[in-house]
């Protein structure tokens, strides 16, 4: 199935939950809304033509530049992306999904952006979403056990966010 066909098919089925696509990229992607991702993923997993049964990876990417002069040249507004890499062990094809989120929920600093969890679709997502939550600061609604996985439980901040600052001290250990 060509990329264009797939986008049309998904748009027909899910309407506004498919928010865009980029088919010219090296790895073409489809953009899905934060409220529709679980539904779309379930469909992609179960559809007989697609059978995307393997979730390879979930990554969080933060887009933010602190320097206002440089930020003006960047060509994008500050935002956070959650990227899903899927593949099929049957058809040997792959697909990339993206959810574009604001950096903070309702632009209130400190309130994490929210996206539906896909842990109910693939069990892989359980740990991957915990990692994205831990390092990139995205809240996955409906996740069975959303807590930090690599950093200690009492760690403050989300290290892979571009405006993250290393703490000066952690339990008596000098940070910087």
């Amino acid at each position: 199935m060509s990329g264009q066909n797939l986008v049309e098919r998904l748009s027909q089925r899910f309407g506004e939950k498919i928010t865009g696509s980029n088919l010219e990229a090296i790895d073409p992607w489809i953009e899905v809304s934060a409220a529709g991702i679980a539904e779309v993923c379930e469909y992609l997993r179960d559809d007989a033509d697609l059978q995307l049964n393997l979730l390879n990876c979930i990554s969080g990417v933060d887009y933010f530049i602190a320097d206002p002069k440089k930020a003006a040249k960047a060509g994008w507004e500050p935002h956070t992306e959650v990227v899903y890499h899927l593949s099929s062990t049957f058809n040997k094809h792959t697909l990339v999904l993206k959810v574009i989120l604001p950096r903070w929920k309702g632009d209130v600093e400190g309130k994490l952006p929210e996206v539906q969890s896909v842990a109910g679709v693939w069990s892989t997502a359980n740990w991957h979403e915990r990692e994205v939550f831990d390092l990139s600061g995205v809240r996955f609604t409906g996740h069975p056990n959303l807590r930090r996985i690599l950093c200690p439980e009492d760690w403050v901040g989300y290290p892979l966010r571009k405006d993250y600052e290393m703490p000066l001290e952690y339990h008596g250990i000098r940070g910087r």
Partner: protein, 401 residues
């Protein structure tokens, strides 16, 4: 009157004891590094296992945002430190995909030689350490004796024994030294007849079979659902190997090579060597099968290295000159997975057009493989926990990154 009990575990359920929390690790020898497992036990039965990670977290992804791709190569070595060459390969291919760099034939064959030798070395550790987990020491020594020779070969090629940084975006840091191929062939000739020794020590050993056969059984669907890959996936009978099914940039390295994916099809493994038979107690997807797939992959790797040596010596082109240290990356993002000894190792690279990536992400194979532990260990005996975790062959450096 004595009561006949078919399954010893049934008694445990009858005589309920207090629930106990047992902390296994992070310094426990059978947790493969710094993995901590918290077991909730009821007598000998484990009702819940909760892995705790992060003791070896070194912020590799964050560091990747501050270095150029070639500078980040040494950090990939330190992820899966038992298969550094394969990690170098994964990252190099990912960067080459972004800058659309084509390799010469010779460079590709060189990479096959190195990657498959790395696979042998890594599986040897996996095998030896698994023996240790189950309480037998000698296979470990036998495995390390041979691995040492591979490390000697690697040392001659790149100067390092563990953290190689040999394969790099663009090719490799140097060509193989003169006479290396002969030494490599001599090693393979000496190593291949030794493999039956390993099978006698572990694969067909009655105690080993008792400890692993029928333990930690995982169906193919469950393995895929948890994102398990590599020998863990193939040990559950799923016929999927990125060297055949992966992206073209990776599979073209193996174009024209004769090899069959090691997984059980219709009750049989591909048969071109004299493998020991599958014991009657073993169930597809158990610890024994995961171990067995690794052993068969060692034989497969020997075969691939032999084919690659032939091609390399007649191939045209150079060994592949590395790209510039601060090569300006085009704007864009790529994701690429390779078949590392422990599973599919993926790298995701986002570039904003500078020499330093905007975001680097490493998809760790062991991370996903380990996530299945809680489900596999539910209801097993305490003594089976090391057997199950060991059969997943995890390396904490790769999980915590």
């Amino acid at each position: 009157m004595a009561t006949q009990v078919d399954d010893a575990r049934i008694i445990e359920f009858d005589v309920r004891t207090d629930e106990m929390l047992v902390n296994m690790g992070p310094q426990h020898p059978s947790t493969h590094g710094v993995l901590r497992l918290v077991l909730r036990t009821d007598g000998e039965i484990v009702s819940e296992v909760e892995p705790h990670l992060g003791y070896l977290h070194r912020c590799a992804e964050k560091i990747g945002e501050n270095l150029t791709p070639r500078q980040w190569i040494p950090y990939t070595d330190r992820m899966d430190y038992l298969a550094g060459m394969n990690m170098n390969l994964g990252w190099s291919l990912c960067v080459e995909k972004l800058i659309d760099h084509q390799l010469s034939e010779k460079a590709k064959h060189l990479r096959v030689i190195i990657a498959e030798m790395g696979r042998i070395a890594s599986h040897l550790v996996g095998m030896g350490a698994y023996g240790l987990d189950l309480g037998t020491f000698s296979p470990f020594l036998y495995a390390f004796r041979e691995r040492e020779k591979i490390l000697d070969l690697f040392e001659e090629a790149c100067g390092a024994r563990l953290t190689y940084s040999y394969l790099t975006p663009g090719g490799a840091t140097a060509d193989l030294p003169n006479g290396w191929l002969q030494k490599c062939e001599a090693f393979l000739d000496q190593f291949e007849p030794i493999i039956p020794e390993y099978h006698a020590l572990l694969t067909t050993n009655a105690i080993f079979v008792k400890r692993t056969a029928g333990i930690g059984v995982m169906s193919g669907e469950m393995a895929v659902d948890f994102g398990c890959t590599g020998p863990v996936l193939r040990g559950s009978g799923v016929d999927y190997d990125l060297r055949r099914d992966g992206e073209e940039r990776y599979t073209e390295m193996y174009d024209g090579y004769a090899f069959e994916v090691i997984s059980q099809k219709d009750g049989h493994y591909p048969k071109d060597h004299d493998y020991p038979a599958v014991p009657a107690e073993a169930v597809l997807g158990d610890c024994w099968h995961r171990f067995y797939v690794r052993m068969l992959e060692v034989v497969q790797a020997i075969d691939l290295v032999r084919q690659a040596i032939d091609r390399y010596s007649t191939a045209s082109g150079d060994w592949g000159v590395p790209i510039k240290l601060a090569h300006k990356l085009p704007k864009g993002e790529v994701y690429l997975e390779t078949e590392s000894p422990r599973g599919q190792m993926g790298f995701y690279l986002v570039s904003d057009g500078n020499a330093i990536p905007w975001r680097v992400r490493a998809r760790s194979s062991c991370f996903c493989n380990l996530s299945v532990t809680s489900d596999l260990c539910r209801g097993c005996l305490i003594a089976d926990v090391p057997a199950i975790v060991g059969s997943l062959d995890v390396v904490m450096g790769e999980i915590d990154r």
